[in-house]
């Protein structure tokens, strides 16, 4: 008997629904507990920054939002690859489910960054490479959602959205390295960089806890959105089957 890989096992939507239904409460609880701990550290333990003062607290939600904005798009690109190359039955479900969640975190990265920029830079917005590339990422998310909703045929919508999803992944290295390639008002990387983080551990710790908590929340929301999408497709299939049955019943009655 052949052994199945985890992705092969999860190709069955019923099995996925059972497994995700078991995991979700635990994942949500752990995410909530870690976020609560991170917020406690952020507001009651972390000291003010020697230059930015208390506004550094905005970093504890801004930076995780920006990381998750990029991770969300990476997830869409990986799912798109899974659909186009491996034709995994849940790849399209995953890509579709991740788009609104990734868009929400991108919007939050933009808004919290803007609210951090005003007191620190003296302006809510500048057209520098980092800010502009994240705005393009937000438009890419909106484009993916709009493209999918404009095509009625589910399979065609999935394939075309997957192509756009894969093409758009080029924005991720541009966002990451924009602060190195161009002269930007946005600060360069201070956590994920060669030589280790340049942030004091008292401020780095709540940031990493916050990032961990919101990453788990992202995955919990992604599972909920995938479960919703599976239900939506079942509902559509059953409704169409019922309509067909009603039509054939009417045709048989007329023939008699």
């Amino acid at each position: 008997m052949q052994t199945q890989t985890l992705t092969q096992k999860l190709a069955n939507p019923t099995r996925f629904m059972t497994l995700s239904g078991t995991i979700l409460p635990w994942l949500s609880a752990v995410a909530g507990a870690i976020i609560a701990y991170a917020m406690y550290l952020a507001f009651f333990v972390a000291p003010p920054d020697y230059q930015q003062g208390e506004t550094v607290k905005i970093m504890f939600i801004h930076v995780p939002s920006a990381w998750l904005a990029m991770m969300g798009y990476g997830l869409i690109a990986a799912s798109s690859f899974g659909l186009l190359v491996f034709r995994h039955p849940l790849a399209d479900v995953s890509a579709k489910a991740a788009a609104p969640i990734g868009a929400a975190f991108t919007l939050l990265a933009l808004v919290t960054g803007s609210l951090w920029g005003k007191p620190m830079w003296g302006t809510y917005w500048v057209w520098d490479a980092r800010l502009t590339s994240v705005l393009i990422l937000f438009f890419l998310y909106i484009g993916l959602i709009a493209l999918r909703s404009s095509i009625e045929e589910e399979q065609l919508a999935g394939k075309l959205t997957a192509v756009l999803g894969l093409v758009g992944v080029a924005i991720l290295p541009i966002i990451k390295f924009s602060v190195d390639w161009w002269n930007t008002l946005h600060q360069p990387a201070s956590v994920a960089k060669l030589g280790g983080p340049s942030i004091h551990p008292d401020i780095l710790s709540p940031l990493l806890w916050s990032a961990a908590g919101f990453t788990l929340l992202f995955f919990a929301l992604h599972l909920v959105a995938m479960r919703n999408e599976i239900r939506r497709r079942r509902l559509k299939a059953l409704t169409m089957a019922e309509v067909e049955r009603a039509h054939s019943g009417t045709a048989a009655a007329v023939a008699e």
Binding site: N12, P13, T14, R15, F43, P48, G53, E54, T55, K57, I58, I61, H62, S65, P89, P100, I101, A104, L107, L108, V111, T112, L115, W116, K118, P119, L217, L221, V224, A225, R227, N228, I230, R231, R232, R233, R234, L235, A237, L238, T239, A241, E242
Partner: protein, 66 residues
Amino acid sequence: MMDLGPHAGFIWASYGIFAFVLAALVAWLLADGHRLQRSLDDLEARGVTRRSKRGAAAGSTGSDGT
């Protein structure tokens, strides 16, 4: 209320908008899930079920029809 200095308004606005957007996202996903599940339950109550469920009811096993 803790003192967050001269820029407290920006800090509270950031956290407020952040909490509101995430709460709206969670509420939308949960409401969507409940609505879809209710519709599926309605169909099932009218006897419209998936092939796998019909197969299981007839004593055989089948793959999911999604």
